[in-house]
Symmetry: C5
Subunit: 355 residues, 5 copies
């Protein structure tokens, strides 16, 4: 994940301008229309096919999966009367999570975290419009997060079909938020692995891994932190679109957002601590290296000096000219001295706990 | 304690789904029913045995100890009319402490910290439902924390039997919170030990111990920090289930939660400081090592050079060819020079306070 | 950008004193007057030429580009009834962003961030007066940020000409704020470059670059942080000059200010982490250097000792006088010993993963 | 001061349980009864002797100095109608400062900081009950902090005898808080000493002293920080026991608590900075050591090599066999080379500013 | 500036006690009495000379410069009815900035920062009493900060003489606050100097300078931070002494206090970063030193070993006894080997970018 992930128009562009780069790809428009008793599901070719379901007294859920083209968005916007500023945010992904109320409609942007194949974290934007009797959702990414909700609708499991569109909104928010748990579980394991590596065998890559982890957690926090505020707004500000009976469910969502943020903070602090541990480990290992050098060097340097002395070529006839060389036991004596020096050194190092 | 301790359903699961992994183990359902004058205590085989006590005008406390099975929870839920979202939190342990009001009932989740046999911190979830005339508690763990309260009820000590169920709630919250004190006392001693180790004889394990401590304190804070907010909610938000006469007691609980959090913060800051001290200690010791190497090496290297000079084989007939070798006092003179050099070095090192 | 960029009068100067240093340069006064149907654009020689447009029932936008002279400001101030304290802030650039309400007028100061030719960040002050039917803007800098808005007015694109002066204010605020996005994108790339440099080949300049980056981000935050509060004030405090229909647009601006601040915080944290990584890298490289020294020195020092031994000149006639020198296989034996010692060393270093 | 200073009952103990360990020692109960015109002072044997003073229309101050026994506290509690939870806090010292209102009575706990003989900080708990016409104070420690107030009452100096019991409360709070100033002055000097030591001659003990200081400041902050909130509560929450005319005096107290906390924060930040400075100093000194080693070693190692060359025993008859040895000026030439090498080294080191 | 600058009475002293140490020095009492039309200025011998000006319907400003004696303060206090607690704060300088309302009077304490001759920061206390029709100011220090305001009154420049005493209060607060700007400009330059020193040639004094700077900024923040709150109180709390027309001016003051605090925070963060940079620089330089040592040592140590080999005295008659010594090209061959080894080393070091 790059640091700067936001798509934006050149400064000064008219607000509500809808422009998409390149071709629309892989777009899939799914329509689900249900009452407690009935359930219809179809894939649309064009947004205008929603028209007939608009007037019916049922809950209509239009889900758009993929990189959306400006036209599609504009068409949906006109059909359901969505605000152009909101539509702009649907297209310019990389938004901060938010909940905005445009008259009778509620517009919610969330970020769904996933782990991609390289084991890197990514977030996929989820945009939700809640109106009277309908919900429109946009999701850009590969993870098909809403499939379980579709299943529950299909199978009439739980009470989801008996509730209104605001409960559907809750269900989608709940999925989006709860997708954070597997991601955090993934990180939990990664951090524990990194801690083991750090304490046992830290290398140069460990450092870059910690830095990378710090960066990802920071980005993740930036993406998920505002979600708490979003859900809190939905609960506190008494949005007319949210029924009182849905409140306890949103409160549950709120708890989950807090748990996720709490954990991210824990991870972040541990990552900072790992950086400190790393630095200490490097110093520790340098200490080891230094000790080896010092033990060997300080043991042998005096010995080398001693043998150097008796390598001198003073000879002449003077009785002062290295008489030791001619002593009967001169050579063994030198060895004795050297063994004593070495022994003294070893005792000294032992006392200092150097090996 | 792993970083990720929360149990959760796969994202998209219907809210209020009750699933338990594996077999129900070691479950024990205890029922205590009391008025100021009467006291009954029995162990239930099945939740339905509570039925006869429900209508009586007494306080009924049902305590469930152990890893609960979905069935038991569901049965209790139906008997006492508990909310499915709350029941889900009872089963999916690892929750954040919270107090939620579901209509006439109050649902409180707390975390009880304990030190396990390995000297590691763990938290055990305590879930409490307070309703009119009854209290249901769940605890998962081995520590039997509520035994003293059962004793007080049995022996009619204090005023506990004269008060209502909200006072019982207080008594249980009080035990749960106060279990933090021995844990913090344990840490206090551990930190002081670690500080001594750090300043006297820091090793590689010291580093990993500090990191481990940091991690545990972080987890502990995450588990206990929200308890302050929980108790505060019970006091401030004028829960109808809490009588005015119980307020001063909860205020006392609140004081305890703050004292615990204060201490955890103190411990955390000291642990951070210990990390800094560790790094400085390692550097300090490297300094020592370097000084030894430097003193020995810089003393002997010039001497070795000197003896090297007179090991050269310039001879020939030139009067310039190392005439010193033939001086009468050549050899002692070399020793004199070497002693002077060594003396100079020693004075230099002494002045620099190197040994 | 220097740390201290604020222009200020000597302490004790009368409030509202208007003094400009040096000559007025490059000043350009542009007047745009429009209704949904009409549009006029002219460049003024002197502020007094605004007079005829004041009474008309149209939106009048006076834009002053360049380093303004006290006279010009004073003349405009008298024409439009602007408060002297506000005029002082127009001249003494380097202000903190703020929104002040002076009776019927609203005075807004913003900072527009740009990247100059040296790749350094600068901010240019934008001062805006909003009154009934007119807007006066001052901008000091080279970047002509409001050109796209002028274009939209000229071409009647979007709804800008159908709205009132408060929408024009929004349009200008929007441009000013959105100019932060390219700047942040620029930084995003710079940080990623620096991270690569840091992990691959950190040098002395890397350190000074990180410090410089930290400084720029700090200054940028100081300049942009208050903008969030400014926009929030315009939304929350129900300024009479801002129409209800402009509120959603300002809310959009507010989102952008938060996104910008969020990113600056992310950058700042990553920069701090880079400082830590740098220190660890330096230690890491010192470790490498030390290992090379230690491997070479500890391998050869014992060998040098050994060859030193057999360089001694013990000879005499004693059978104890270095008999090894006369052994038949003496010399190859010494080599054998030396090869064994070296082999032992290599095995030891391999085991310690030193090379 | 140990990290864990709180006395607590085993979790689950009945609230309001009064238990003291060991014997009551050194207890001294002082009773002062005064009106503007009269003043009585006596030392009580038993709390019940207060009885006659209770009904009188005067201010009665009962001061208990020393480690109080449960009986004494219980007796006073019954006489004056004090709440058992408050009495528990009097006995279980190590409380967090707090102000609790129990019906008509106000219960305040404060911590009085002192420097003991070892130059270590300690805090002594002060507990105060304010009721209509009486004040009861408990103090455990050796410092007799309230003597100056007793003096002022005795000598009728200031207006203390003309005011009510709430003014007496203020006077005692004021003394308790102001005892922080000499303690902070003590620390100010200690920190400045430590800074000098740090920059001039940092040793191993300096590190442990900084860590110790950090710990004490942290504990002190924990003990004093809540006092600000306590005094603020007395001012803001319009306690009925506090008269309006006493408010300005409490506001003065409040200022002092803030000044004390401000200073503790300043000290804490400086202590953190000292830790950084220490680490840098250690590195600095290692640098010095390394430079000495490097200068000596890199100067002499090449020289030793050179003299080693001419210590080789190539002789034979080959004209290639070290002909230098037979040059007329061979030996002086070697010296010349060595002097040139040394000179080059010295110039190199000088340029690098190494000595 | 020492850490502990507050003057205080011994704990337990009666509140409102006025004691000054030593002799009154250099005191100068200035009285200025003005209406829009009249202006009188005189220097008083004794406070009682104010008497005649009290009853007049004009603005009376009494300014006391210097170290005030208790008598003078008491006399002024009686004349103008000032509260004893406020008077105590005038004498016991080193107060925290604050604004207290005593009935009809407003008492404001501010700290005026100055740079003394040694280039060290100091703060001078300014105490201001605002009452109906009069203002009394105390300033202790050498900097005569209010001279420009006196000038404006004398010369009738600006509108100062047409406004009431609250505008005079504003004018004095404005001067006091704005004196922070030159101080911060001074620091800005100092920090930039220090940064250059840090990156180019960091020495031991650099470290102590950074620490000193940190300390001064911390003290400055402590002295100036509360001023923001003071001015905010004057604006928000609707003090009756402050007229509505003075509010915009105070809002301007408020902006300045925030700008000053913002900058201090920026400086503080940069100083922290400088500490990190310092540590990295020291490590960097150690790296350089180590590289030089390693390059020289690892190049020459093997060479020294080689020449040592051929310094051995194996001779005897064995054909294994160092036959190399007798080879025709033995000596040049050794040189060749040594040159190859050296070349290999150089290539190795070049590849590692070590020089």
């Amino acid at each position: 994940m790059s640091y700067f992930t936001k798509r934006y128009h050149p400064p000064g562009t008219s607000p509500g301008t809808l422009v998409t780069e390149g071709q629309e790809e892989d777009i899939r428009i799914q329509l689900l229309d249900y009452t407690p008793d009935e359930f219809q599901e179809l894939t649309l070719e064009h947004p205008s096919e929603c028209q007939p379901y608009l007037e019916r007294n049922s809950i209509t859920w239009v889900h758009v999966e993929g990189v959306v083209h400006a036209e599609t968005v504009r068409a949906l916007g006109q059909l359901f009367g969505l605000h152009p500023l909101a539509l702009e945010d649907v297209i310019n992904t990389g938004q901060r999570p938010k909940a905005d109320s445009y008259g009778e409609q509620l517009f919610v942007v969330m970020n769904l975290p996933t782990v991609n194949e390289q084991g890197r974290i990514e977030t996929e934007q989820v945009s939700l419009f809640l109106g009277e009797g309908f919900l429109i959702s946009f999701h850009r990414g590969d993870s098909r997060p809403f499939e379980p909700v579709v299943q529950r609708l299909r199978k009439h499991s739980g009470k989801i079909r008996e509730r209104k569109a605001d409960y559907l909104l809750y269900a989608l928010l709940d999925v989006t938020i709860d997708r954070g748990f597997p991601v955090l579980e993934f990180y939990s394991e990664y951090i524990e692995e990194l801690e083991d590596e750090l304490l046992e065998n830290p290398g140069k890559e460990t450092l870059s891994r910690i830095h990378q982890l710090k960066r990802e957690l920071l980005m993740l926090r930036r993406m998920l932190w505002p979600q708490r505020e979003v859900i809190n707004n939905l609960i506190r500000e008494e949005q007319p679109q949210i029924r009182a009976e849905t409140q306890p469910y949103l409160r549950d969502c709120y708890d989950h957002t807090i748990q996720i943020i709490d954990l991210i903070e824990v991870y972040r602090e541990m990552t900072s601590s790992m950086m400190d541990v790393y630095l200490s480990s490097v110093s520790n290992r340098m200490n080891e290296v230094m000790k080896v050098l010092t033990v060997i060097a300080t043991t042998f340097i005096p010995l080398t000096f001693i043998v150097g002395v008796y390598g001198m070529n003073f000879s002449g006839d003077s009785p002062w000219a290295m008489p030791e060389l001619n002593w009967y036991y001169g050579y063994p004596l030198v060895w004795l001295v050297m063994i004593l020096v070495t022994g003294g050194m070893i005792i000294y190092f032992k006392r200092r706990n150097w090996f």
